[in-house]
């Protein structure tokens, strides 16, 4: 069985006439240590699929199974615990807590664990080091650039070393120089063994991954192998 399994998952929003089917039916398996891009036009259902994968949105149909656990059979609390231990998230923008400095933002996932303050700071600083922002640890989010904010978000997503990293349009708000920097960072993390599931509408970014699947109108289009799976 694959590490992550999407089994006939679908999602409808709204009721009656206002009913929108965001994801029709998707089957997908993702292996541990892989870097997969989910590509598609805007509105094709990528974010909806990623939210279901990340335990943030329960599917109307089907199942999401990670490490053999059916995510949506868990209680809300257990699901939160699962997210904390198994998943890191990166979003497009504005994802830092504005009143916490860079270091505190990175520490955030550790705040509800049993790590001591010292451990928290040590782990956060080492995560910041990975994204090259150790020196800006005490800045507030509005005192650093958009590209730097995105890298802080990556540091926060990996600070507690979760097995899976989910990214939804991580470069959506960045210029091309910052984009490629973020993409290189993700590739680097993947080469260190990090499983990454990334959603993007940009083919250029998608191609950083070792595998691309395409979503159109709530369905998967035949997977296009890019690089030979090594």
């Amino acid at each position: 069985m694959s590490y992550i399994q999407v089994i006939q998952a679908g999602k409808d929003f709204g009721e009656g006439d206002a009913r929108v089917t965001a994801v029709k039916q998707i089957d997908l398996s993702i292996e541990q240590g892989s870097f997969i891009s989910i590509m598609g036009e805007s509105g094709s259902g990528k974010s909806t699929l990623l939210a279901m994968l990340g335990g943030l949105l329960s599917p109307t149909r089907g199942q999401i199974v990670i490490e053999g656990i059916d995510l949506y059979s868990l209680t809300r609390t257990k699901l939160a615990d699962f997210r904390r231990e198994f998943m890191g998230f990166i979003f497009q923008s504005f994802q830092l807590v504005p009143y916490l400095n860079v270091l505190e933002n990175v520490q955030l996932p550790l705040a509800v664990t049993h790590h001591s303050e010292e451990d928290q700071v040590r782990l956060a600083l080492s995560a910041l080091d990975k994204v090259g922002l150790k020196e800006k640890a005490h800045r507030l989010p509005n005192q650093i650039s958009g590209g730097e904010q995105e890298r802080v978000a990556i540091a926060r997503a990996v600070v507690n070393e979760p097995p899976i990293l989910f990214a939804d349009e991580p470069t959506g708000n960045l210029d091309s120089r910052n984009s490629s920097e973020v993409m290189k960072l993700l590739t680097k993390l993947n080469s260190d063994g990090q499983t990454i599931v990334m959603v993007t509408h940009s083919r250029k970014n998608a191609e950083y991954a070792e595998r691309i699947v395409e979503v159109a109108d709530g369905r998967l289009i035949e997977p296009t192998p890019l690089r030979a799976a090594c």
């Binding site: 609390t77 939160a80 615990d81 699962f82 904390r84 504005f94 505190e104 520490q107 705040a111 509800v112």
Partner: protein, 385 residues
């Protein structure tokens, strides 16, 4: 980092909102503190001055034919010999439910004697109680310090032609006049005051009293209730309330107390609503942030804890400032409500209570907003990113 770091940092960044929250709660708390402290101090003040109002309860022997009125005393019809109260019964006064409200008990015994061919009324009193009861007395001389001294009312001294230090014969006992009262305009002007035990002996009324004057102050119950309790304790005696002045004043105070309770409740409610609305809007404002907390793996309980922690911090400040402000307002109020500024005393229970009140109120008002935050759908919250 702990959850409280998040709460503290958020509050530090939203100074305007925090100021608004603290002010809203603080006004409520200070109103309660001010009204409670003011009424308490006024009540205490009245209690202090109670003595100056004289007796407000009189205990006399129960009797069909005897009409005994203390003002405009009619002496002729006295027949004490049969209808006296036993002195040991007076101990029961201290056993009534509201015994703590009884401030002064002044038993007396009356007896008629003849001096220079004039009939006069002698009264045996316990001078300590009597002087405490009649603060308005001005004695020309001193109050009796031994059994052989008497204190004379102004009129009786004139009638018997007695002055300070002169001697007077009552029954078979010779007394020295230790002092003469300035005119009081009351029955006291025509009385000869001697010590109670001696009077009892002289008039053959050992162990008996003819009347008891009581100064009582009932903060938490009407005077009639005290009268009822005393009547039950002393079934053979007639207990009457007099001097409605104090009671009226206490009634006013009671009304003020009720009124202020109502006002406080209203102000507190408004303060609570301010907190509720502000917290609710802050939760809405923080939707994104809450989405991030969720995605990161904070449980609903963690999110709720952050918001309630913020409420506690804000309420704690509001409680402390509110108490201080309330005491300050009390100062101002007292100079309005009382012609002299009463002694200002602080009640530690009110201090602790007001902080608790603020925290409880803050928590109650923030509970629903915190629940709403905790129940937020993480996907919806993140879609606003």
């Amino acid at each position: 980092m702990k959850l409280r770091t998040i709460a503290f940092n958020n509050l530090r960044r939203r100074k305007a909102k925090v100021f608004f929250l603290i002010t809203g709660l603080m006004i409520g708390v200070s109103a309660v503190v001010a009204l409670m402290t003011t009424t308490r101090i006024l009540a205490e003040d009245i209690a202090h001055k109670m003595d100056e109002f004289g007796a407000n309860i009189i205990i006399t022997p129960k009797s069909e034919g005897l009409s005994l009125t203390y003002g405009g005393l009619s002496l002729g019809g006295f027949s004490f010999d049969v209808k006296e109260i036993h002195q040991e019964e007076l101990a029961k006064i201290k056993t009534i439910e509201n015994a703590a409200n009884i401030r002064i008990v002044s038993p007396k015994v009356f007896g008629v004697f003849e001096s220079s061919n004039q009939k006069a009324l002698a009264v045996g009193v316990d001078f300590n109680s009597e002087l405490a009861l009649k603060k308005w007395w001005k004695i020309n001389g001193k109050s009796p310090e031994s059994d052989s001294q008497v204190l004379l009312g102004h009129d009786v001294a004139a009638k018997l032609n007695l002055t300070k230090d002169s001697e007077v014969q009552i029954k078979d006992h010779t007394f020295q006049v230790s002092g003469i009262l300035d005119p009081t305009g009351s029955q006291d002007d025509s009385l000869v005051f001697i010590r109670l035990p001696l009077a009892q002996k002289l008039f053959g009324k050992e162990g008996q009293v003819g009347m008891v004057e009581i100064a009582a102050l009932c903060k938490n119950c009407p005077i009639t209730e005290l009268v009822a309790q005393l009547s039950r304790a002393l079934p053979t005696a007639k207990v009457t309330a007099v001097q409605q002045v104090v009671e009226g004043r206490m009634d006013t105070l009671h009304n003020f107390q009720n009124f202020s309770l109502g006002v406080s409740a209203l102000i507190l409610f408004v303060g609570g609503m301010v907190v509720f609305v502000t917290m609710m809007s802050s939760v809405t404002e923080r939707t994104r942030e809450i989405g991030i907390f969720s995605a990161i793996g904070f449980r609903s309980a963690h999110i709720m804890k952050i918001i309630l922690l913020e409420a506690v911090i804000v309420s704690l400040c509001a409680g402390i400032f509110g108490y201080a402000t309330g005491i300050g307002v009390t100062w101002g109020l007292l100079s309005f409500l009382s012609e002299h500024r009463p002694h200002m005393s602080l009640d530690p229970y009110v201090a602790v209570g007001s902080v608790f009140l603020a925290i409880i109120l803050g928590l109650i008002a923030s509970f629903y907003p915190a629940r709403a935050a905790a129940a937020m759908d993480p996907n919806e919250a993140l879609r606003t990113l």
